[in-house]
């Protein structure tokens, strides 16, 4: 399979992590070894085996649709990296051309 530094760069982009060249070089062989060692799971179960997503059977949980107090706004914003006018302040989300 051999995961290349280009593959890792593409995955890091999907995962929204900026990685340096040095990090890519360091990570690629490590990730390759991990993927190689887990690849054997493909041979274990036949097509007739149902996948399990959760250990125990899940049922949908409902509650009454009633108004309840939410967390105080100032408590929530206190942990934000930046806040302004009682809102989260975020960097621009559109490109220059938009």
């Amino acid at each position: 399979m051999a995961l290349t530094t280009d593959d890792v760069a593409r995955l890091a982009k999907l995962a929204r992590i900026e990685l340096s060249e040095a990090e890519l070089e360091h990570l690629a062989p490590q990730l390759d070894v991990i993927l190689e060692s887990v690849a054997s799971v493909q041979q274990v179960a036949g097509p007739d085996i149902e996948p399990t997503s959760h250990a125990l059977p899940l049922t949908n949980v409902f509650r009454e649709d009633e108004v309840r107090p939410s967390l105080p706004r100032e408590d929530v914003l206190a942990g934000a990296p930046a806040a302004e006018e009682e809102r989260f302040r975020v960097p621009r989300i559109l490109g220059e051309e938009a």
Binding site: E18, V33, I49, T52, H54, L56, D75, A78, G79, I93
Partner: protein, 502 residues
Amino acid sequence: MSELLHRTAAELAAGIAAGEHSSEEVTRAHLDRIEAVDEVVHAFLHVDGERALEAARAVDAKVAAGEPVGPLAGVPLGLKDVLTMRGAPTTCGSRMLRDWHPPYDATVTRRLLEAGLVVLGKTNMDEFAMGSSTENSAYGPTRNPWDTSRIPGGSGGGSAAALAAFEAPLTIGTDTGGSIRQPAAVTGTVGVKPTYGGTSRYGLVALASSLDQPGPCARTVLDAALLHQVIAGHDPLDSTSIDAPVPDVVTAARSGDVAGMRIGVVRELGGEGYAPGVEQRFTEAVELLSGLGAEVVEVSCPSFDAALGAYYLIMPSEASSNLARFDAMRFGLRVGDDGTRSAEEVMNLTREAGFGAEVKRRIIIGTYALSSGYYDAYYGSAQKVRTLIKRDFDAAFERCDVLVSPTTPSTPWPLGERVDDPLAMYKADLCTLPSNLAGNAAASFPAGLAPEDGLPVGVQVMAPPMADDRLYRVGAALERALTEQWGGPLLNRIPQLQEVSA
């Protein structure tokens, strides 16, 4: 070192309720101990002595007023830094959440506080609970009190080391692939992963939602059971929480009667790759149980051989999705927001700076396993293996009441030895992760010291879902018999830590 530090949580609570000693005295003794040894052990990331003493005095006032208090009221405790508590930082051992103060209490935290437990502080852990050595903490590793050049296990190395160093009689851990049990094994302490859904995940910063489970850590089986009783039970705030009575773990821990119990030794969890001292102490523990009237049989769970592969696809997949919330917008770190960069660029830079190497490895593996074209081959196959592991457990539990194995294949290794060898690190979870994949209850109990290096060995007990009480029954039987054999608790043999005078 104060004599109070060696008492069990049950004894401390009884003494507080009877007015023999105050919670304040007990709390102060533990805070002094932390002051004296934690510079070396580094079990705690955050300690708030004032808050702890205030909580202790509140319990003392209740006792003085003759008001009823719970069975662990006034007993100090360390909380793993992955569970939220208002008024203290929750960092998850990550730069991403440095100094972040959560706006609400986890359900586990709320229950602890309501039961009058005194939270001393937050314990160290591998970043976002990813690791088996606590070396992945962004704030530096925890050291094993048995030998401070060695790892205390992980991810809950702080919670386990705090117990072994007598910094706290009780701690809380969380277990996704062994993060309660493996640290317990390598520090000679008790750690229990309840049935998935037995304890609430509300306010637990998620690693892998279908696997994570908070649980009790203690020095004795009864103490773990008492703590289990406090934190367990249905929580409407966690949709996977089981709406059924908590198994009677305290009665089981007091009983320790294993006569007639059928105990299955899992053939696949032993042999090549296991340290001789681990195998020897495990075999002796099984013989001991047999001598106490348990019926021992060998069982085979062939799919367990594929558990490591399945786990290291499912867990990173869920982690990569869960950790997407660290986007630099609503909480935690933000890097490079200088007015010129877009939100996406800021996000990329923040995640680069905020996450450590192991977190990046797992996010990228998870992204790979979930990406189109690979989903069926990796994530899909792993979920099928999960079905097979469940079937193996079901078949084994038809023949046996509990299953047993070593908790982890080796004794604690030197710090640094596996940091750049992820696969070697992952193998520490070989025996523990089948129970996370299948969701059943499992625990680690001290089995003695390996003859070759004098370091702790743990025996793992696995029980069917919602039969957590059986763990305690077996654990109590082992503890009673072994303590008698050793002439006292295993931790009496731990080398003295150098105390720094305050």
